[in-house]
Symmetry: C2
Subunit: 322 residues, 2 copies
């Protein structure tokens, strides 16, 4: 789960990935060819991208020699961690000597403004979750692409380091000073044309004891017209938190709608996005049919069949939602 | 309302206030004698404390000459704004030349940790509100003092700049990077003796489109056993936000309890703290009687009669709450 940055970039920007640098004992691979720093430089790689996002976002000290080696070999360093690359003198010196850049995508230069609650023009969709790290970014990327394929103007709005690396823009909302959470979220999807959809990547979960504040500030600032709830049926409790059971989907929908109504009373949940990797084909079809009947909403797995059922719900309801 | 830092320090630390420096046209006074920087220095003042907290927490540029004058006159500068005093070269130079210190109380050195949701020992009370700036800090200070007067071990835990200036400790929770909101709130009231009460100053409001994320992160990290809801009956809508009506008290209690149960299923609302300055004596007594009957909870105005009714509810319910 901590390798989601590497996996996301490999999935959504495969043409940009030259190879993969793995430490001994690495449990996860993107499937890209294994390369040393020297091999990557020789193969024409332009950057070393840190693909791991440990909880708390700190850079482990034992990674530093590899980063220095990469900078010295002429590679930019791209990081989405809270720790700033520029805080390591050795790395700054190596980058300066080699003439390469250090990119801290989690630290943008967003205006420090507080939220206003002012209603903006255009349509907005936010992906939300019963837990962290179960498909909110993937679902938002897939929805934006699917809307665009139907000729609906849509923009993916990244709120995390991986989404920023994939799309080239956005804000790492969890790195914003708390006072400006909703204000920066408001800036992320400014006034837009009436038929345009901003598809905003959700963060955290309202049900998570560490991150619910971030989720709520993003929800209020995004003022979504539509929510898509993301879920993984294999999680009976939150990841790494056995004391925190995963909420029932109907309860989660109601909680998200209740919170979202503060800045958009017309908000609706238009469907469920499921990470069904724990289910075989028959189990997934049965689970999907049961959920659709229970909730009266379309249910899709973006990886297993795509998000067309959700996109259809967005475009069908467009008049109602506007 | 923006002068709440000055008013809070004058109210709770009157022995520490030498005088008041007012700009022309100032609408509010703490009642302390008016003094120029030179007069204050001559009268033995040790610091110039910035008593205004504008929304967004930025330092207006036209204040700088006065701050430089104060530093040059030998006064420390104490600020609770987001803007760091150290970001003004002229002021840094003046402070260095005069040998005085610049104190940015909003920027503490708290560990950057994410929340765990782990239940801690000891009892916790959090003040929450239907809006911002209506008595959460004052109520918490009064409750801590009242508990101590009854012989109940209690500690006020500041979460904003004014509370930190008054109590000499705490964290400006709205200045924390959003990822660490709940984690830092957990650190603020660590494990304590079973009979001890941490009385935690609330921030913002779950109903505020700019600050609800901060309020929720603080609520989850505080894992309160008891909530006191603060309210001002003169506000029909949130301060400066006509489009956002103030919630009904019963709805507000239910929303806060629902959110707080995530990290403490045993949480209770033990009473209401009212800022009744808009009501005359008879209207206040009638309002209090009606609320107490409607909600089945004690109602108090800390300034008009004190918080004994709330303290009694805390100590009476102590066994139930533990």
């Amino acid at each position: 789960m901590d390798a989601k940055t590497a996996l996301g970039v490999a999935q959504w920007c495969p043409g940009d990935v030259t190879g993969e640098l793995r430490f001994p004992g690495a449990a996860v691979s993107t499937g890209a060819p294994a390369m040393s720093v020297a091999q990557a430089a020789a193969a024409g790689a332009g950057s070393l991208l840190i693909g791991i996002a440990p909880p708390g976002g700190r850079l482990p000290a034992h990674w530093l020699p590899t980063l220095v080696e990469a900078a010295s070999a002429g590679l930019d360093i791209v990081s989405g961690l809270h720790t700033r690359l520029g805080s390591f003198r050795e790395l700054v010196a190596a980058a300066a000597a080699a003439g390469v850049n250090l990119h801290d995508v989690r630290h943008g230069d967003w205006p420090r403004v507080t939220g206003t609650g002012r209603k903006r023009t255009g349509q907005r969709l936010l992906t939300v979750g019963t837990d962290c790290a179960l498909g909110k970014k993937y679902t938002a990327l897939a929805l934006a692409r699917s809307l665009q394929a139907r000729g609906v103007p849509a923009t993916f709005r990244a709120t995390g380091q991986t989404g920023i690396m994939i799309s080239g823009a956005g804000v790492a909302i969890d790195a914003v000073v708390a006072d400006f959470l909703a204000g920066v979220a408001e800036q992320l999807s400014p006034d837009n044309a009436p038929g345009h959809w901003d598809v905003i990547e959700g963060q955290g979960s309202l049900f998570h004891p560490a991150y619910a504040g971030v989720s709520l500030g993003l929800l209020h600032g995004s003022q979504p017209d539509a929510l898509v709830l993301c879920h993984d049926p294999s999680r009976t409790h939150l990841d790494a938190l056995p004391g925190f059971p995963t909420p029932q989907l109907a309860d989660a929908i109601e909680m998200y709608l209740q919170a979202a109504r503060l800045t958009n009373p017309a908000v609706r949940c238009i469907g469920i996005s499921v990470n069904s990797s724990s289910l075989d084909g028959a189990a997934w079809r049965a689970y999907r049919a049961r959920l659709e009947a229970e909730l009266g909403l379309p249910v899709a797995d973006p990886i297993r069949g795509g998000v067309e059922a959700l996109t259809a719900a967005i475009t069908t309801n467009k008049e109602n939602l506007s």
